[in-house]
Structures are given as structure tokens and as C-alpha cells.
């Protein structure tokens, strides 16, 4: 299986890549890790005439923690994030999510920016990025804009990134209680993608839940914040019955649950409730 032929560009800087994007318009595709795009090209589901390989742009690979802000370059690989010591300390949810993506070969190539932009409804990153209330920075030749995670996922395989834009970094505010977090998923046995995945980041105070931020992936056409569930936890002591009652609303934001040969919509809803409960309890236990 060989892709349709294309012209290949390997710009060294973001500016150069943006110029190429403007020049080639919608016929061009950006390539970072290639773990979603290359299979798509091989199956000829897409046949761009120009491939702009941004994998060699060093500025897009940085990971830094300074002050209250964590910045992750769009081209940081899942493996880079999984093993990053400072992230483990300040925001372990990132590494825990990264380590559950696909397999080691995919994690060595695939990037956070590519995964988010691809917006697969069963991808893992969206759950964590929503739970962390992250911001995604996108640049075009016109300038830079900052997209909130809650505005980023638009529909199945559709993110807010425009064809003339490059995602440059993901910004996360350091959580108040980094350890009070978890990502739990039910992997689809063959691909590893999430049938359902739940990411939780909590803030606890004197045994009560001050704030809960919960991202759910795999259930609907796009990942979402389980705001009804979050509201039901706020200000409450996290005893079993409170968490059960709240987690029963984990699917409240989804009108259409995904259905395929691996799981019916009802089963996915069930999984979302069960895993939301487990996630909240596990995150609270770690606090």
C-alpha cells in the first residue's frame, strides 16, 4: 500500500511551514508523527498534493514548566510526555494518559498536536486536555489564537484548527492538587483506542470536593466535559452514594452515543457511568 504521489517539504521553522501552507492551501496536509495521517494516505482516504513535514521543527518539540504554566510543544511525542519527570511531578495526568495510547511504537512517533487536531472521537488526549481545561495555541500567517479545550473539538474527526493553521503548543495551568487525578479507559481490544475513557482532575478540601473537572472520550462524536456530573460533585463529601449518583450523569451531555461492532451506544453509556465513578474514586484516593 503506497500513498498517491505528493510533493514533500520539510521546513525548518514555523514561519517557513506557514508560508508553505498559504502557498498550497487546502491541497496541503501537515505531517507530524504520521501515525494517523500515513495510514490514511496509504488507504487513499486522503490524497493531498503537498505534504509539509513539520516533524523537523525543533521549536515545536519543547516541553517546559515555568511558574504556574506547563507548555507542551505540539510535536512532543506521546512517549516524550509519558517519561517527562517534571510533568510527572506537576501534572501526572498528562503522562498517565500518554502511556495508555496505542503501543510503544505509536507512542514513539505520534504527537499530542497531531492527535488533538485529528480529533478522533475515540482518542485519549481529548479527555485529559478537557479535564485539565487546557488551551491550544494555533498559528497562521495572520497571527496566533488561543483555543479553549472546550471549544476545540467540533465533531467526528473535526477540530477547530483551520487549514492555514499550525497547532504550536498546548498550555496547561498547573493543577492545585496534581496527584488528585486519573485517566481510566476501556481499550478496544484490537486498536487500543478508547471505547470509553474518563479523565478526572479533582481539588479536595477537608474531605470535600471543591472542584471536579471530568473529560469523557469515546462516548459521543466528540469528547466533552461532563458538566452535570461535575456540578453534582461540587461541595460534596465523596462518599460512595454521592459519587454513584453523580456518575450516573456522566453521559448527560451526549445526545448521540457512538455505536459500532465493538459496542452499542447503550453499552458505551453504561461504561461511561461505571468508569466515571471509578475515576472519581481513584483520583480522590490519590489526593
Amino acid at each position: 500500500m503506497i500513498p498517491t504521489n505528493f510533493e514533500y517539504f520539510a521546513p525548518a521553522t514555523i514561519e517557513e511551514a506557514l508560508q508553505l501552507l498559504d502557498q498550497h492551501g487546502e491541497d496541503a496536509k501537515l505531517l507530524s508523527g504520521g501515525q494517523s495521517l500515513i495510514p490514511v494516505l496509504k488507504l487513499r482516504l486522503a490524497a493531498p498534493t503537498a505534504i509539509i513535514d513539520i516533524g523537523r521543527i525543533a521549536a515545536l518539540k519543547q516541553i517546559s514548566v515555568s511558574g504556574d504554566t506547563i507548555r507542551i510543544g505540539a510535536n512532543a511525542t506521546h512517549a516524550d510526555i509519558a517519561r517527562h519527570a517534571e510533568l510527572k511531578q506537576h501534572c501526572p495526568l498528562l503522562g498517565e494518559t500518554a502511556a495508555q495510547i496505542g503501543d510503544q511504537q505509536v507512542r514513539n512517533r505520534g504527537t499530542i498536536g497531531g492527535s488533538l487536531t485529528h480529533a478522533d472521537p475515540a482518542a485519549d488526549w481529548p479527555a485529559a486536555i478537557l479535564a485539565l481545561d487546557a488551551e491550544i495555541v494555533a498559528r497562521s500567517s495572520q497571527g496566533e489564537r488561543v483555543i479553549k479545550a472546550t471549544d476545540f473539538f467540533v465533531d467526528v474527526m473535526t477540530s477547530a484548527v483551520q487549514p492555514n493553521e499550525i497547532v504550536t503548543e498546548i498550555r496547561v495551568a498547573k493543577p492545585a492538587q496534581p496527584q488528585a487525578a486519573v485517566y481510566l479507559k476501556v481499550p478496544q481490544a484490537a486498536s487500543g483506542f478508547a471505547l470509553v475513557g474518563v479523565a478526572a482532575q479533582l481539588t479536595l478540601n477537608n474531605g470535600k470536593c471543591e472542584a471536579a473537572s471530568i473529560g469523557v472520550t469515546g462516548l459521543g462524536p466528540k469528547a466533552f466535559r461532563a458538566t452535570t456530573l461535575e456540578a453534582a460533585l461540587r461541595g460534596q463529601a465523596l462518599d460512595d452514594s454521592t459519587v454513584s449518583a453523580a456518575a450516573a450523569k456522566a453521559d448527560a451531555e451526549t445526545a448521540d452515543a457512538l455505536e459500532d461492532i465493538h459496542a452499542s451506544g447503550d453499552y458505551r453509556r453504561h461504561l461511561a457511568r461505571v468508569y466515571a465513578k471509578r475515576a472519581v474514586q481513584a483520583a480522590a484516593a490519590r489526593a
Binding site: 503506497i2 504521489n5 514533500y8 500515513i38 488507504l43 498534493t49 517519561r83 510503544q104 511504537q105 514513539n108
Partner: protein, 184 residues
């Protein structure tokens, strides 16, 4: 089918695609790349759509790297790129330009099997052998990250490699055997 004005469109061989409506494609581009494979520097002049696995097998002639699924699922095509296991059917050859590739042929030194190869031999880690080169390269990558893995870590580390013969138990044993040998 006729376009406006009664013009007969030019169609492709299968008759369904109107060629004149296809996006304009440039003449096939060729790119010169240079990369090290098992310590030897190679130059190649290739189409950018060429996959790394095709370069390794068809241009360089190292057929130890296998193609199983060609859809980035089975791991048979695993090689080390700059020391890390990757599926060479999911990497364009141009992406490896300037890089260092290690294939199964690059493991043995001076006629001595690499400890991982020896371990697969000793522990019966293979039956038909089709998955074995990829399995061994993935296992080598795993031990670089985790020199002394638990059984669970071995199974997690090899999730990207499918074996239709062994049932995996002997493969896990082999990786453990190699780890013990390499740490010692």
C-alpha cells in the same frame, strides 16, 4: 457522462474518475536521502511517498524486516529509528533522512547472536518466525526503557506486536531471560 457543452471528459482506467477534475499533480518528485542502516551509511533517490519498510527491503535488500499487515497494526515491520522502536510501514523513508536505523540484521555482532536473539532461541519464543524480527526489535526497545521489566511491563511493551502462533508466553519468557542476561 458529458460535461457542460457536450465535452466528453477524460476518465481514468476504471471509468469512474474524471481525470480532468482530479487535483493537478506535479511530475513525480524525487528526494535524495542519506541514512545509516546498521551502521552503514546509505544514499537513496526516492519518491517521497515511499515507506521506510520499502526502502529497507526493496532498495537496501534487507529482508529480515517483515511486512505483515501493512496497516500499522501488527508490528512485524518494527525497526529501531534513532534507538526507538517504530513501525517502518508507518514512517515515510524521507522522515528517516539523516537518521539511524537498526534492523534485525544489525543485532548480531561478529557472528555472536544478540542476547535477545539467543533468548528467543533458548525459550522457544518463535514458531513460524514471521513476527519474530519485529518482536525482537520491539523487545530491545522495551529493555532500553525498562531494563528489568515485570511480566506485566513486558506484555504492555509488546502490545504493538501480534503473534499468531506462540500464545505469547514463550515470548514473555524470552524477554525476561534476555533482561536477566543483559543486566548481569
Amino acid at each position: 457522462m458529458r460535461l457542460a457543452g457536450g465535452v466528453l471528459p477524460k476518465v481514468c482506467m476504471c471509468g469512474t474518475h474524471i481525470l480532468s477534475l482530479h487535483p493537478q499533480r506535479k511530475e513525480e518528485q524525487r528526494v535524495k536521502i542519506s541514512l545509516s542502516i546498521n551502521g552503514t551509511q546509505h544514499e537513496a533517490d526516492i519518491e517521497p511517498r515511499f515507506l521506510l519498510v520499502h526502502l529497507i527491503r526493496d532498495v537496501i535488500g534487507l529482508t529480515g524486516t517483515h511486512i505483515g499487515c501493512e496497516t500499522s497494526i501488527c508490528g512485524a515491520c518494527t525497526v529501531l529509528l534513532d534507538g526507538k522502536p517504530v513501525k517502518s510501514c508507518a514512517v515515510l523513508a524521507v522522515q528517516a533522512n539523516g537518521g539511524q536505523v537498526t534492523t534485525i540484521e544489525g543485532l548480531a555482532k561478529d557472528g555472536q547472536l544478540h542476547p535477545m536473539q539467543e533468548a528467543f532461541w533458548e525459550c522457544h519464543g518463535l514458531q513460524c518466525g514471521y513476527c519474530t524480527p519485529g518482536m525482537i526489535m520491539a523487545a530491545c526497545g522495551l529493555l532500553k526503557e525498562t531494563p528489568n521489566p515485570s511480566e506485566e511491563e513486558i506484555r504492555h511493551g509488546l502490545e504493538g506486536n501480534i503473534c499468531r502462533c506462540t500464545g505469547y508466553q514463550h515470548i514473555v519468557d524470552a524477554v525476561k531471560y534476555a533482561a536477566d542476561k543483559m543486566v548481569a
